[in-house]
Amino acid sequence: MARLELDDVTKVYRGDDDEAGVVAVDDVSVEVPDGDFLVLVGPSGCGKSTTLRMIAGLETVTAGEVTLGDRTINDVSAQERDIAMVFQSYALYPHKTVRDNIAFGLEESTDLSDGEITETVEEATELMGIDDLLDRKPGELSGGQQQRVALGRAIVRDPDAFLMDEPLSNLDAKLRAEMRTELQHLQEQLGVTTVYVTHDQTEAMTMGDRIAVLDQGELQQVGTPLECYHQPSNLFVAGFIGEPSMNVFDGHLQTTELVTDSFTYSFSAESVSDLDLEEESELVLGIRPEDIELGERSTDEHRFEAEVVVVEPMGNENIVHLQFDDTPTDDEFIATTEGIPSVSSGDRVGVVFPEAAIHLFDADTGKAVKNRRLSFTGTPAEMLQ
Amino acid sequence: MGRIQLDHLTKRFGETVAVEDVTLDTEDGEFLILVGPSGCGKSTTLRMIAGLERPTDGNLYIDGDHMNYRVPQNRDIAMVFQDYALYPHMTVRENIRFGLEEEAGYTAAEMDEQVEATAADLGIVDLLDRKPGELSGGQQQRVALGRAIVRDPEVFLMDEPLANLDAKLRSQMRTELQQLQADLDVTTVYVTHNQTEAMTMGDRLAVLNDGRLQQVGEPLTLYHEPANQFVAGFIGEPMMNFLHGHADDETFTGSGLEYPLDDRLADAVGDTDELVLGVRPEAIDVRRADEATGEREPGPHEFRMQVAVSETHGDQNVVSMTVDDEETDHDALRAVTDGMHVVTQGDSVVVTIDPETVHVFDGETGETLCNRLLETDPELAAVSSN
């Protein structure tokens, strides 16, 4: 068990002839407290896998420090880092039985006697519920079982840290949901510091204690899932976290009104005056699809008219594609509604953007200027410090 | 043109039955989705339509013509593969053109024109002279689509074409594909195991399990009126809650709960012995115990439960709960609450299950005995009728 810390970590791949090279990871600093579950998330090519591979020792670190426990491990070889990794492809040895697959790491990295190894392997497989598969070969196992063996191989070594590289992406949806919960339970039970790479929204939101959002090699935000969802630090995080994405509208400020191409949004006086913004600032207004209200419920000044383009019913919710008048054809925005869809394409509906749910971003830098107001019901959560 | 009929189609590989007695009829221009868990036979069915597998039994017709023994190249179909199957040694232009070369009646100039036009439709004109290896996943996907549409076939077959893309790109390509299919108006059969794709893309949905067709219908029909427990469980994420038990005196007992059945449910149950009650997670109301009832005793459809896990997704929360004072490690119910309504692990909550939202299945056969009642939001309904 140990704390993991990345300190200004940078990775540059140098090409043969161009001097500048490609910066895959740029000055990333994150701390993972002992026993914490950190999810690294971002679009493909954002550097999340490279970061993970640097922690594992499979890539060298160009600059900065990787610290595990109380030692810097930049120059420690992968074999000696006391880290276990689960790969996307499971990377099981096809010619070995499940038992030998799991025992292999122990034989290589510890001085345990054969008896102790057998015992440890059996404990681990029992924990994973694969104790009846011990003598099979990987080829005879289903995807979920292979996944469990790969996990078993990781936990049996009792490492300081787990690294997981999209371990669930090869499973089908139902199995993935099941394994997701199982993995969480397992991590809680073992209390091992874990770094988990994924591009899956649901995994990012539900599995980690904290998530770190990366884009183009740069760290965008580190925080609890709900922080990243409700208080994104910039436009990228706002757009990346959440499915369907947050709707954004470009506009500029005129006293207490935001003027966009399609509508004029007036803020209550106190909410903008706090922001200390210059007149005519270029801003981006953001609102989550589930915060948009459809219907004729209220007659406040935040109600606009829009036309329904497409309704995608999902059963539990409906994804409604909407469009304001006089906007180019592909400029749609999305609202989600619950239950049986009661609007259909072509309908004209009232659209309400409640002021509490509005985010504002600086149009140039993308930085969040104002995030939504939060009012949780149920447990008044301390989850968002 | 382009109507596909499967007539008692069966495929056996040695002893294993991959597809069993599937009868299905598409309409011309329809977008049909084949969905099911891995190994359910959906890909085999698609491959039989493509002519890559020969049916063991039954008949296959496209546009009224018997197809069982016809080779793929004579079926006038195009197929998009999960791994795109682009020819790595050919440029994008050659890849798209390849299929055209076999069609009779094109001059070289016409072919080039056709390729250019298709590439323009898909926004890949600048990529025409690159090789597939130099393209991103999304671009490769577009080339694969281009190769399919350039031949203007009667039928499109797609085998999980979006599975290799990342989430954001996938939802973008999903909409694009739908648009494309609507514009071209070509009968399309689309295989997926992705919930969202299944629910949103198709005109109709065919659910397969163990090689057998479970139900065919519009997505919402399958969601709200499943024909059996398998369909109810397969469609919807998080999946429907199932409570196993039996009924006595108009009361359902099982899974640590006693649930009074109203007339509608009791009628449907009749004298069936083993029962499964089904409730969608979003139909369950969850409130903290102190807020919900205060000192009041729970009503007949209310239950006290303990929160085992609460997953925050942002827009919604998935709450797993166990029955109070019940020594099981097995979560009794899963509910979905609004994103702003957060309960935490260990909270004591009151759960309300409205009898109108309950499905009842036969515990032995899995057949549906009755489905939930449906009603639309009256306010929104009023808006749309204006």
Binding site: - | A78, M79, F98, E102, R151
Partner: protein
């Protein structure tokens, strides 16, 4: 494998750090193996360049010094071998080309096209790999001499070609024999490569409307070029170096159609004893074509092996 990257060329500390016994041992082993493989070759070349008296006086692997150096051995060996070089290439090049092409087609038919009974046919190919040369020698000469005397039939035709006397017609049955004998092993090599290609490529082409031959010509053939390199080099070496079939069908080193492998044993040996200088020169010259081939196609060879195993 190495974790450290030296920051400047004169960073003494890191140099010392890098100096460890494991690394020294590794390089020592490499040098040892290099010597093991290269010394015989070097000895051969050195001997070829020495006069007879120098051979007697100096160590075998020492370079020729002063008057001991001569090129006459090489000149003599070359004059003796010229004719047989032509014969060898006349036989080996077409034989290898045909061999590789037919084997690739056979592998394609056995791997990527499905038809009833292909397993049985492939089993026959596998058996073909294991038939020893010696077992077929007698039937082979029976066949080409008595049952189907192709060489005799073609003799008038060959007599009409300048530089080739009628005797060269014997190269034709030899070529055919090599093709037939080489196909099984080449087919197995190609088959394992084709198995590694994604099946969906062929299926996509099928649905695109391509016929079986077009799929081969346009998709499979271009994709298997690296494998062609590997199999070509391998098979050319086999055929060029082969002795038993040539000996059986051409009969002796005196025949005008004799390939290099038949001439080589006779060169430099006479009643006075063995002339090592000439023998080594001849051996070196005989090995040249295959060496050139390896050097020229080394990259292709490595690439082909890589794609096959990956």
């Amino acid at each position: 494998m190495s974790q450290s990257t030296s920051r400047s060329p004169i960073d003494v500390e890191s140099l010392v750090e890098n100096f460890n016994y494991r690394r020294v041992g590794k390089y020592a082993l490499v040098v040892l193996f290099l010597g093991f493989f290269l010394v015989p070759l070097e000895t051969g070349i050195m001997t070829a360049l020495k006069t007879n008296s120098a051979i007697a006086r100096s160590l075998p692997f020492a370079p020729p010094a002063g008057e001991g150096f001569t090129l006459t051995n090489l000149e003599y060996a070359f004059s003796q071998l010229t004719n047989s070089f032509v014969n060898s290439l006349l036989m080996a090049v077409p034989a290898t080309l045909l061999n590789v092409l037919l084997a690739s087609m056979a592998a394609y038919g056995l791997t990527m096209v499905s038809w009833r009974g292909q397993i049985a046919v492939f089993a026959l190919f596998l058996v073909g790999v294991f038939v020893p040369y010696q077992a077929v020698l007698v039937p082979l000469s029976q066949f080409w001499n008595n049952m189907f005397p192709l060489a005799r039939m073609l003799e008038p035709l060959f007599a009409a070609i300048p530089f080739l006397q009628g005797g060269h017609s014997r190269l034709v049955p030899l070529t055919i024999t090599h093709v037939a004998y080489g196909i099984p092993i080449c087919t197995v090599l190609f088959r394992s490569y084709y198995k590694s290609l994604p099946n969906s490529l062929v299926e996509a082409a099928k649905i695109d409307g391509a016929s079986i031959t077009k799929i081969y010509r346009r998709i499979v053939l271009p994709l298997s070029l690296p494998m062609f390199g590997v199999v070509f080099i391998y098979q050319f070496t086999q055929i060029y170096n082969e002795f038993l079939f040539s000996f059986t069908l051409i009969t002796g080193s005196n025949h005008p159609a004799a390939p290099v492998t038949l001439i080589l044993p006779a060169i430099g040996s006479s009643t006075e004893g063995i002339d090592f200088g000439i023998r080594m020169s001849a051996a070196f010259l005989a090995a040249l074509p295959t060496i050139i081939l390896y050097v020229a196609f080394a990259e292709q060879f490595a690439k082909g092996l890589r794609t096959e195993s990956g």
